[in-house]
């Protein structure tokens, strides 16, 4: 079996194990995996926009909160069935991401990051203020039933979908274009890439999933209020997991998410007072020492392919057309390897 076959089989096997897991795991273990899947899903979403385009969104939790409140309001106040409400949350988040992205993505670097932070805070404030709909600080009691298994499978499904999407992005022309935006947006524009459209697409994709994940969170947790669904910890986890694993890669958020969940589990139980400090140091250490994440390290050891499929196909195709001159330089060295 070739490398690709191995990968696919491995992937299917993992998914299979995950599907069977609730039958053998204890209640606690299922919840642990459920929450880990939640964080990984968020990390993949963040990766789609911030990892590939370099537009760091520090306010992505806004979409999570929107999704949570959508489910809260639709289910508790209007009696909608929860799967429909969750999907609606995703659609709503994606829909809002269009005008929001249109406005925000015009801003570069720090402006964008800060702007998104303001958006998240503003959305939280809105949830507090719009008492007629969200009940403000009183919060919403979404459900009194304890819905672990359905949420587990829904999250598993979502993670599989977002990972597949990421895989496609990672190996497509679209992904390469996003990466070129990260490398040097002006150069990308000069090369004729419609950066606005690409960025916006990535942004909207990256908003839909938190919308649904937030909705599932609301259905799982049973009670939501502005403070808990717009919490800092979600933003923190998204960023940290993606960074740790490797931003702008296919496996990055998974590796980062899984290892982080495991490390955190041992850490905070040991050091409840220090965990924020340790997390802060961890982020700083990653930025200083392994800014490209674990995936980059694994690549150097050859454990992960260095070439992106699309880039490879392009190179091979152009090499066949010997009369077309030198190979087009759509790949730069670190785009292919990074």
């Amino acid at each position: 079996m070739n490398r690709r076959g191995v990968n696919v089989t491995a992937g299917v096997a993992v998914v299979g194990v995950m599907v069977a897991a609730p039958l053998v795991l204890s209640g606690y273990q299922i919840v642990f995996v459920l929450l880990t899947l939640l964080y990984i899903g968020m990390a993949y979403s963040w990766n789609l926009i911030s990892g590939y385009t370099g537009y760091l969104s520090f306010g992505h939790v806004a979409f999570f909160g929107i999704g949570a409140y959508t489910v809260g309001v639709l289910v508790a106040t209007h009696g909608w069935p929860w799967p429909v409400a969750v999907l609606t949350g995703g659609v709503l988040a994606a829909a809002l991401a269009v005008p929001l992205g249109w406005i925000m993505l015009r801003l570069r670097g720090p402006y964008f990051a800060i702007g998104m932070l303001a958006v998240a805070e503003g959305t939280r404030l809105l949830a507090s203020v719009w008492r007629g709909v969200t009940r403000g600080g009183l919060g919403i009691f979404v459900t009194t039933t304890y819905n672990v298994v359905p949420v587990y499978y829904s999250l598993l499904g979502l993670v599989v979908v977002v990972m597949t999407l990421t895989y496609w992005v990672d190996n497509s022309r679209f992904g390469l274009r996003l990466l070129s935006i990260r490398e040097d947006e002006d150069a990308a524009e000069v090369l004729g890439i419609d950066t606005t459209r690409r960025k916006l697409t990535a942004f909207v994709m990256s908003a839909a999933f938190p919308g649904m994940i937030g909705g599932l969170y609301a259905w799982y947790i049973g009670y939501i209020d502005p403070g808990s669904v717009f919490a800092l910890s979600f933003s923190l986890n998204m960023v940290l997991m993606t960074l740790l694993g490797g931003a702008g890669t296919f496996l990055g958020p998974l590796i980062g998410g899984a290892s982080f969940a495991v490390v955190l589990e041992s850490l905070w139980a040991r050091f409840p007072a220090y965990h924020l400090m340790v997390t802060g140091v961890a982020i700083m250490a990653i930025v200083l020492f392994i800014p490209n994440g674990i995936v980059a390290v694994l690549r150097r050891f050859g454990l992960i392919s260095r070439r992106r499929q699309f880039a490879s196909r392009v190179v091979r195709r152009s090499q066949r057309r010997t009369d077309e001159g030198p190979a087009p330089t759509t790949e730069k060295s670190d785009v292919a390897a990074g």
């Binding site: 947790i221 403070g227 495991v262 490390v263 041992s266």
Partner: protein, 435 residues
């Protein structure tokens, strides 16, 4: 970059392994009895996880006889870090105190009691995970509720699902107990009634109007709704009300609006920091009324220390004061001081009372069967150090009222309920600088 990356990665991995290893070696006091490695069914290259060895007690399902030697485990998840850390520490001290006292006196049902406390970091999802762990992994016999409304709301369905009695000492939100949960019980006065005493005083004195400002979080919002209803019932009028976002530090404009409404009384649904800021800014801006009553915050010693003279004759809504002549109160205070090295506040008192109720119910039915314990609690009508305890079938507290205090020269006097007051309340307030 190559070398640095490898170095950094190795460092991180080593640290992680080291910490995980330290974890299994020696659990520190008060930490969970088992360590936190879990088998994740994913194939990742990362970290070593250890399947943990479970603790000693083998608790069998409810009803069947258990070994007399094994300890009874009571589990709880508290917000030991994060937003609510300060208060939750008091809660843990209170639980530990109770457990120590019970163990000294022969234990519960003749068995020693073991307390298992985890930190939910003030986040609801972590709270749910920990209660799952306590119930399914650690197999605790009994649980006690967490601190905040958000975490409570998240774990009450779990208590329902596993049919375990859940006493939530500090859960004040009325709505928590209006959701149809049958296994959760309230110890503290419902939020909507926090200022009942102030309203009674108003009625006594013939005042008719009041203004209310509060933080836009669970209990002040519930209090606002409660005040609205109470006002109607008593023929009073809430002439101004507004909730401010959590974290507000500048109240000058809000207070200007309050002042403009010229109410007889000004009420605040506050914690300590906003109570302090509001008082100071009222003083600065010259905003005053005949009665000023702020919940929670203004009843704490920190408040008087921070605002100094401005606290004079300000009323605070509390739940418990050391001077209260409830059964066992002085002993509790002395014991708590010895253990924690500081005076207990009402959070400690309420938590102590809550876990005492649980113990009482267990002793009363002489069993660990959750159904029976639940019956006992519903039928229980008693008085603890915290005050009266009586719950209705929804689990809401109906016996306990709040306690109004008023500051006189840096000392707190209880002014309501009238029958246990240590001093008479004083209205109207004189202006700033004239008291």
């Amino acid at each position: 970059m190559n070398a640095t990356a490898i170095r950094g990665f190795v460092l991180l991995a080593l640290t992680a392994l080291l910490l995980a290893a330290c974890g299994t070696a020696s659990p520190p006091a008060g930490a969970p009895p088992d360590e936190a490695g879990e088998e994740t069914p994913e194939e990742t290259a990362e970290g070593s996880t250890e399947e943990t060895a479970e603790g000693t007690a083998e608790e069998t399902a409810e009803g069947t006889a258990a070994s007399d030697e094994s300890p009874i485990k009571i589990g709880a998840s508290l917000s030991l870090s994060g937003d609510y850390a300060r208060i939750a520490v008091d809660q843990r001290e209170a639980y530990e105190l109770y457990v120590a006292q019970v163990n000294e006196n022969g234990g519960l049902l003749g068995r020693q009691v073991e307390l298992v406390v985890y930190d939910d970091q003030s986040t609801p999802e972590t709270g749910t995970r920990l209660y799952e762990r306590l119930i399914t992994e650690d197999q605790v016999d009994l649980i006690m509720g967490p601190y905040s409304s958000a975490v409570s709301g998240a774990m009450m369905p779990i208590a329902e699902r596993y049919e375990m009695v859940n006493i939530a000492p500090m859960a004040s939100s009325d709505e928590l107990f209006q959701q149809g949960f049958t296994w959760s019980f309230q110890v503290i006065t419902p939020a909507s009634l926090y200022l009942e005493g102030a309203l009674e005083i108003m009625e006594e004195e013939g005042y008719t109007t009041f203004a209310y400002i509060g933080e836009d979080t669970a209990f002040p919002a519930a209090l606002m709704d409660g005040l609205g209803q109470e006002a109607e019932a008593r023929g009073l009028e809430m002439v101004f009300n507004q909730l401010y976002p959590k974290g507000t530090t500048d109240f000058t404009s809000l207070l200007a609006q309050v002042g403009a409404a010229q109410p007889d009384a000004i009420f605040g649904g506050t914690y300590v920091e906003d109570a302090v800021a509001i008082t100071r800014q009222m003083q600065e801006q010259g905003v005053i009324a005949d009665i000023v009553a702020l919940t929670v915050g203004a009843a704490e010693n920190e408040y008087a220390e921070s605002v100094g003279d401005a606290a004079q004759h300000i009323m605070g809504a509390s739940h418990w004061e050391p001077q209260l002549e409830t059964p066992g109160n002085p002993e509790f205070i002395a014991a708590y001081q010895e253990k924690a090295g500081r005076d207990p506040g009402y959070h400690a008192a309420g938590s102590y009372a809550g876990i005492s109720i649980l113990g009482m119910a267990v002793e009363a039915c002489q069993c660990l069967d959750q159904e029976d314990i639940r019956e006992e609690i519903i039928n229980l009508e008693t008085e603890t150090i915290f005050g009266p305890f009586d719950v209705d079938e929804t689990g809401a507290q109906v016996g306990k009222t709040g306690v109004m205090v008023q500051w006189f020269d840096g000392q707190k006097e209880i002014t309501w309920p009238f029958d246990i007051a240590t001093a008479e309340y004083l209205t109207p307030l004189a202006g700033w600088g004239e008291r």
